[in-house]
């Protein structure tokens, strides 16, 4: 009984700002904090909702997503996220998990993609899509990222993603590389993966989507990239647009062979 109350107290205290700073002043290392959270990652709440959504008949066509082919066969969720993005012959496009789910929602359920593309993160159908992402990635947790770059369109997306990574633009001249091309660097107290290395690319790719403790939100990779561009001071990237797919192929391809920790948990 006493132990229980202690556990609650620790959970509560660690989440208040002054104590986060106290932890930061020790070693600016949030690993211990992350470990503490890993057991009860609230992303599981989204995963539960996503699983329900996968199996529930919805949309104008009143269908489930159980016939959705994420690249490893209709309805197969196990290991699906680890091999995405990939080239899909039926759409003739390279798709990431989010754009593929959006395609399934449109073709199987009749939910128009425009509703998601023009929507807002964490709201409406785009919010539901995020829960589906939580469900699908959980079934690739601990698996090695295995993205097949052999198709010419995948290769082209990878090359374009790499170019975008170094592409400086916007009000502050930033590219992705401005923050993510050296080992051991930080913005404020936030550690930055060096995405020019395979290990760093895997760290970035393989730890999002994630639950963010600081704002109690579940963020997909599309959401993560969108906010990177916001902080880069560019115009707003369109949901599931080519630039987001290209960067995803670049990161996933570079991180091939490394284990994914999905869904992640961030401060």
């Amino acid at each position: 009984m006493k132990k229980t109350i202690m556990a609650v107290a620790i959970g509560a205290v660690a989440l208040t700002a002054p104590n986060m700073q106290a932890m930061a002043s020790e070693d600016l290392n949030f690993d211990a904090y992350r470990q503490m959270l890993a057991d009860g990652n609230p992303a599981e709440l989204f995963e539960m909702e996503g699983e329900e959504l996968w199996r529930t008949a919805r949309g104008p066509k009143n269908a489930t997503l159980e016939q959705c082919d994420l690249g490893v066969g209709a309805g197969v969720v196990d290991g699906a996220a680890a091999q995405l993005p990939r080239f899909f012959a039926d759409t003739g496009k390279v798709q990431d998990l989010e754009s593929r789910l959006m395609h399934c929602m449109e073709t199987l359920q009749g939910i128009p993609s425009a509703e998601i593309i023009n929507g807002k993160f964490r709201q409406g159908e785009r919010g539901k899509l995020a829960s589906l992402v939580a469900y699908v990635v959980t079934h690739s947790n601990g698996k090695k990222v295995q993205v097949d770059l052999s198709h010419p369109k995948m290769k082209e997306m990878y090359d374009m993603g790499e170019k975008v990574f170094y592409y400086r633009t916007g009000a502050m001249d930033f590219s992705c590389a401005s923050c993510h091309s050296q080992d051991g660097k930080r913005i404020r107290a936030t550690q930055l993966p060096n995405i020019t290395t395979s290990k760093g690319a895997a760290e970035g790719w393989g730890s999002w989507p994630a639950y963010r403790v600081s704002n109690s939100q579940f963020w997909t990779m599309q959401h993560r990239l969108w906010d990177c561009f916001r902080q880069q001071r560019t115009a707003e990237p369109v949901f599931a647009s080519d630039v987001t797919i290209a960067l995803s192929v670049f990161m996933a391809g570079k991180g091939n062979g490394y284990e994914a920790v999905w869904p992640g948990v961030k401060r």
Binding site: T4, A7, L15, P42, V213, S216
Partner: protein, 103 residues
């Protein structure tokens, strides 16, 4: 209606470990929205856990507990197939009860 909890319970050597993840905003009543209006307090006040029909944990929660709270505890006894039931009530009178079988 409140969203479901995720509960896991596992028995080992006569002790059952229960892990509960709750879905709740846990709004303190101290925060303001972007227009400056106070966001009303909304948080879990009481939580009860039962093993079969016996209360094994009763706890008071408050606004200092984080959004989507996580709670882990152990109790003596419990065996595979037993029922663990967790319930909470919040300050708006909303409540939620979920149950799980001990693994």
């Amino acid at each position: 209606m409140a969203n479901p909890m995720r509960i896991r319970a596992a028995a080992k050597d006569g002790v059952t470990e229960v892990r509960v993840l709750m879905s709740h905003v846990m709004e303190t009543g101290q925060r303001k929205d972007s227009s400056g209006a106070v966001i009303p307090a909304h948080f879990i006040t009481e939580l009860t856990a039962k093993h079969n029909d016996k209360v094994v944990l009763s706890a008071q929660f408050g606004p200092s507990v984080s959004t989507n709270p996580y709670l882990a505890f152990k109790f003596n006894g419990g065996a595979k197939g037993d029922k663990v039931v967790v319930s909470w009530v919040d300050n708006k009178g909303d409540s939620r009860t979920d149950e799980v079988q001990v693994a």
